[in-house]
Amino acid sequence: MARVTKPARYIGGELGAREPLHEPGRVAWLLVYPDTYEIGLPNQGLQILYEILNEREDALAERAYAPWTDMERAMRGAGIPLFSLETTRPAAEFDVLAFNLSAELTYTNVLNLIDLAGLAVRSNERTGDAPLIVAGGHCAFNPEPLADFVDVFVLGDGEEVVGEISEVLLDRAAGHPRSRHELLRALARVDGVYVPALYEARYDGTRLVGVVPRSGDVPERVEKRAIADLGEWPYPKRQLVPLMEVVHDRLNVEVFRGCTRGCRFCQAGMITRPVRERPASQVDEMVRSGLARTGYDEVALTSLSSADFSGIEHVVSSVINDPQCSGQVSVSLPSLRVDAFTVGIAAEIQKVRRTGLTFAPEGGTWRMRQVMNKLIREGDLYSAVDSAFAQGWRRLKLYFLIGLPTETDEDVLGIAELARRCAEIGHRYHHNVTLTASVGGFVPKPHTPFQWFGQDTIEELRRKVGMLRDALRGARGVSLRWHGAEATAAEGIVSRGDRRVGRVVEHVWRAGGTFQEWSEHFDLGLWTDGLKAAGLSLEDTVYRHREEHEVLPWDHLSAGLHKHFLWQDFSEALREHGLEDCRWTPCYDCGVCTGMTVEHVVASTVPPAGGSQGTGQDASAGGVMPVRFVVKEHEAHEAHEAREEHEEMVGAGASGGGA
């Protein structure tokens, strides 16, 4: 331990950690985050499942994180396998190793951790009572690149399904032998569970033509799970407080799940629908008791767009006016909407420890933002920025994406123009301001309207970044940051890859390529070698535009969204049409609410006061919008038919799509 960096990664001891008793009749889960402790510990999904499983009488859960390379070397040198943090029990002694898949570039770590546990990495080489390898999280919505290594994927919210899986496994934990194959078939019958070994990937030449069940007793299409009411799941109740510093080291309270802003590049917004808000009074209670229990002086109200939370003003004023907090607690909204109203809230809640503010206009021109459906007017951005500088902020960060459909050089240069003008606004208030424009290369994601779009090449992304650098040379107060184009390409290989990409992941891992999320370890050469070895190419897996009727590797898995809705929305994007937020405007039948027995849970029929973003309307004064939350069955049917007619027309006219 004295020889490894940050040894506190391996000692556990957090407030809220449990040391569960392993005994017959309890299914033992090891929840594994395939990145370092300080990245993985704050993960809310993992913490929620940790509590839910440990509350059950028939299950228990411990945790593990990826040991850093120095620790891994020491462990392998001493013959120590992957072990649990709480009771230092070898991973192979658990019934389930459950991985959280938050980012594609961690996949090589998943393989490495299975191997470090002393298990065969390929699922068909694991036999008998070897632990079941389970994976969930956002990336599980295209699980095919890990299909050869993971036994069971779970789609969607995990709160309910972990219990159902435990019940199926209980026989095994109690020592009643059941063959591995039988067990997998039983699990495949649980809603939201996908067992890749029971499906065959079929190809016509090099083209995937379907992923189909090998037998009749597993579903042709696996639907995601979604909890109907977040209010019934006030977790984590006992958020883990680590001994060492981690990212997001603060109390985190999830205020809603799902998002209907409809940003077309955003996978999280698409796959987590519908919107389910937590009752404001419960948020209050979770903030209050969480602060008292943990001793944190910062609380983040988390969601995909927290300023949209209908109870936001109530919650904020109640936290700030709480005498217990006495002005020492700061509240943060990790994803700020771009408008002056939001800045007003931010100013109110960040009376203490004011750091920087971040906005995500994402696109450099109004045209581009209509394409991506991030409907922020320049006026919204400038008034938000003006308001932020006027209220004392000096450091602002703007997030942008490049490499989006229909993007022209003018759109890219628009980023420089926006950044420059925002800095100019700052100089009206302060002598020194820092405006950081952070630019990322766009990676098309499954289950989004842009899933058909061919990703920009490494060279093209580099050219665009170079153009921005030139345009911003000498711009006072503006600094440009960008993410490596090579890592963007590698992410693209996995993001929309089919089962064959598993060979690439395995190749990179076998060549020593772990921690690919970390720039000091990332190596594009390993990925291109892997592609070559698997008979694949960047051209085909990453850069190619998909065709409308092409089978996509995740077509047999459903996030609730109709594929024809996504195609329709993609077509609208190419025609530069934005789409309104359906929380406050009529339903456009994306498929989620009507297809699943869940619907939006919103506390207020009035959208929060703010700018035009997302609603496509001038909502700067707040006010009532025409609202219809649930489409009745016959209406849904009519809407569906109307859309199909419309789609035929669009479909006939549109090509494979893209730039």
Partner: protein, 233 residues
């Protein structure tokens, strides 16, 4: 008022850093709802002042912390309230008030006593190495600090070094009083000077030297150093 706390750091928690320990105290004090004074400005921080940093991986039964409170609170009550809220391995040993007008812990502490296990070495062998160190006129070491090469002499900081039988069969114990001036010596550096591996190191005392006598930071009475006690035994 200032309340001075003496606390221990034992077991697994020794792998956390000095900064980590500071955060543990901040959280525990907030949970205890003690009237801790805060700095002003845009980023108010609780007014806590820690003594010498304890190297990550070392244990201690003699860590100190000064807490500024806005109102008078009986030190024993501070101990009682905050003690149970600290993570396992961090324990409050004592609480009191520093002498009025005393300087900060950082400025006052002049030496520390360490109890260090030195594995894989016989006591006689260690004795020989220790007397060689104590007999040396100077012990120069070269370190790179912020891009500059700095040469230091560690000899003035070696105040006393003694061997003791180990608690188990594996090696020998070393009791060392190490000065903080002109520069502190860490147990790992001492092990390096001895050419041995460093086992578990535990800080057992911090000393303030004033007028030829040594005091512990929470004890106004002159004390003899632990090394002197060891010598007498």
């Amino acid at each position: 008022m200032i309340v001075r706390i003496r606390f221990s750091k034992l077991g697994k928690v020794r792998w956390t850093s000095h900064r980590d320990v500071a955060r543990m105290w901040e959280r525990a004090l907030r949970r205890a709802k003690l009237p801790v004074a805060y700095t002003g400005g845009f980023s108010p921080r609780p007014q806590l002042s820690f003594g010498l940093a304890l190297p990550t991986g070392c244990e201690s039964v003699a860590e100190y912390l000064d807490i500024a409170l806005e109102t008078e609170v009986e030190p024993a009550l501070v101990k009682q309230r905050v003690g149970p809220l600290l993570p396992g391995g961090i324990g409050v040993v004592a609480a009191g008030e520093p002498e009025p007008g005393s300087a900060s812990l950082q400025a006052e502490v002049t030496s520390c006593t360490w109890d260090i296990s030195v594995p894989y070495i016989a006591r006689s062998e260690l004795d020989e190495a220790l007397s060689k160190l104590m007999g040396a006129a100077s012990l120069p070491v070269v370190r790179e600090r912020k891009g500059h090469v700095v040469a230091d002499d560690l000899r003035p900081s070696l105040i006393a070094l003694f061997s003791r039988d180990a608690r188990d069969e594996l090696g020998t114990r070393l009791v060392a009083e190490l000065g903080t001036r002109p520069r502190g010596v860490r147990p790992a550096e001492l092990a390096e000077l001895l050419g041995t591996e460093l086992g578990l190191a535990r800080r057992t005392c911090q000393w303030i030297e004033r007028g030829g006598s040594k005091f512990e930071p929470l004890d106004a009475r002159p004390a003899v150093s632990a090394v002197a006690v060891e010598r007498a035994s």
